[in-house]
Amino acid sequence: MDNLTERLATEQVALEDELMFFMFSDLFGFPSPFPHIAIELVPILADRIEPWLKRMASKRSVLSEKFSQCDGWA
C-alpha cells in the first residue's frame, strides 16, 4: 500500500513538473507560446515555482530527460 501511494506521489510530482515546464519554458530559454498568460499564472503558482526550479536544477540534464520522454525524439 505504502509503495503504491509513494509511486503515485512520485508520478504526480513528475506530471506537475512537466506542466510547469509547459507554462514557464521561458526560464530555460524556450520561448513560451503565450508568455502573456504565463504572467498571470506566476502569482497563482508562486509558492511552487522555486521548488520546481530546484528540482529541475538537480537533474543531470533536464533536456535529455525531457527529450527522451518524447516519442520519436530520443
Partner: protein, 322 residues
C-alpha cells in the same frame, strides 16, 4: 439592418472588419472612411491596433485609449497595448506580493519582467484587446480594426486556434495531476472537489472560455470581413498577394482588396507618362491576379487627407458594403 432583433440574442456579435496592408498604402484612412460609411447604418467603432497610430492625424483631433465620438454614430479608439501590458504586469505583481513572502515575490517578479519582454507578449496583448472589444456584447454594430502592417495581421488569425489547443493541453494535464492526487488521498478528497478548489485549473478554464469566444468570432465568416488596402504599385501588390495566399492556406478567406490612389482619367495627361503607365499596369494585375474581388478603386485624391476626401472615400466604400 437595425439593432433591434440581434440585441435580444445571447451571443450578439458585431460585424467585424479587419483592414490590413503594407505600411503607407492608406490603410488607416480607408479604415476611417469605412467607419464613416458603416456609421450610416449603426453604431460603429474604428479601433487602431497599429502601434504607429495615425487616427488622430487623419481626423485632426486627439484620439485616445478610450473610445471617442467623432461622428453621429462613429467612435474611434487608439489602443495603447504597451500601457495595457504595464497595467496587467502591475496587477500580477501586486497579487504575487500578497501571495508569498517579499523575498520570494521579489525574485519571481524579475521572472515576470522576463515574460513581459518575450517576443509574443505585445502581439498577444493586442489580440486579447481585440477579443475584448469584439466580445463585449451589443455595444457596437460594426467594428473596424485598423491593423498593423501585414505580418502582424496574419499572426492574429492563427493565434486563437493555437492558443485554444495549448490551453486545452494544459487543462488536460492539470486534470491528470488532480486525478492522481484524488487517487492518492484514498477517497478522502474527490476529484471534483479538488478541481473546484484549484486556482490554476480555474484560471486556465477562464482563459479557455474567452479564447473560445474569440475563435467563434474569427470563424464567423458571415460577420468577419478582411480587406487589404493596396496601391497600384509593385511592392504593395506582391505583399498583398503573399498575405492573401498565407491566409487562404490557414483557411481564412480574404473578402477583397481596396485599391487606393488610382490615377483618375482626368489626371492622366498631367502626370509623367511613365508613372501613369506603371500605375495602370499594376492596377490590371491587381484586377486579374490576386484571386479576390477588387471591392473599390479609390482615386488619387489631391490635397491629402481632409474631411472632404474622407467623405468622398466613404461614399465609394458605402457602395461596397451595401
Amino acid at each position: 439592418m437595425t439593432d433591434g432583433p440581434e440585441k435580444r440574442e445571447v451571443f450578439f456579435l458585431p460585424d467585424v472588419f479587419f483592414v490590413g496592408g503594407k505600411g503607407g498604402v492608406g490603410k488607416s484612412t480607408v479604415a476611417v472612411a469605412l467607419g464613416f460609411a458603416l456609421s450610416e447604418r449603426g453604431r460603429t467603432l474604428v479601433a487602431s491596433t497599429d502601434p504607429a497610430h495615425s487616427l488622430s492625424d487623419i481626423l485632426s483631433e486627439g484620439i485616445g485609449p478610450s473610445p471617442k465620438k467623432v461622428g453621429e454614430n462613429l467612435f474611434c479608439v487608439e489602443i495603447d497595448v504597451e500601457k495595457e501590458l504595464d497595467r496587467y504586469v502591475t496587477s500580477a505583481k501586486r497579487q504575487l506580493f500578497s501571495a508569498v513572502s517579499p523575498a520570494v515575490a521579489e525574485r519571481l517578479s524579475r521572472f515576470i519582467d522576463i515574460l513581459r519582454d518575450s517576443p509574443g507578449t505585445v502581439e498577444y496583448a493586442t489580440f486579447e484587446k481585440i477579443v475584448q472589444i469584439v466580445s463585449n456584447p451589443s455595444s457596437y454594430r460594426y467594428v473596424v480594426f485598423d491593423t498593423a502592417p501585414t505580418g502582424h495581421t496574419l499572426r492574429l488569425f492563427v493565434l486563437p486556434d493555437l492558443l485554444q489547443s495549448w490551453l486545452e493541453e494544459l487543462v488536460k494535464r492539470r486534470r491528470e495531476v488532480l486525478r492522481l492526487e484524488a487517487m492518492r488521498s484514498l477517497g478522502e478528497k474527490s476529484f471534483e472537489e479538488l478541481l473546484e478548489k484549484d486556482a490554476l485549473h480555474r484560471s486556465l478554464e477562464r482563459r479557455l472560455e474567452s479564447v473560445k469566444r474569440a475563435v467563434k468570432v474569427f470563424r464567423n465568416r458571415e460577420h468577419l470581413h478582411i480587406f487589404f488596402v493596396l496601391n497600384p504599385e509593385k511592392l504593395p501588390f506582391e505583399e498583398t498577394r503573399r498575405a492573401i495566399r498565407a491566409l487562404s492556406d490557414i483557411g481564412v478567406p480574404v473578402s477583397g482588396v481596396i485599391v487606393n490612389r488610382v490615377i483618375p482619367k482626368d489626371l492622366e495627361g498631367k502626370l509623367p507618362e511613365v508613372l501613369v503607365r506603371e500605375s495602370r499596369f499594376w492596377l490590371n494585375r491587381i484586377r486579374s491576379d490576386l484571386g479576390v474581388p477588387v471591392l473599390a478603386e479609390i482615386p488619387l485624391l489631391m490635397g491629402g487627407v481632409r474631411p472632404e476626401t474622407i467623405r468622398e472615400m466613404a461614399g465609394a466604400l458605402g457602395r461596397v458594403i451595401a
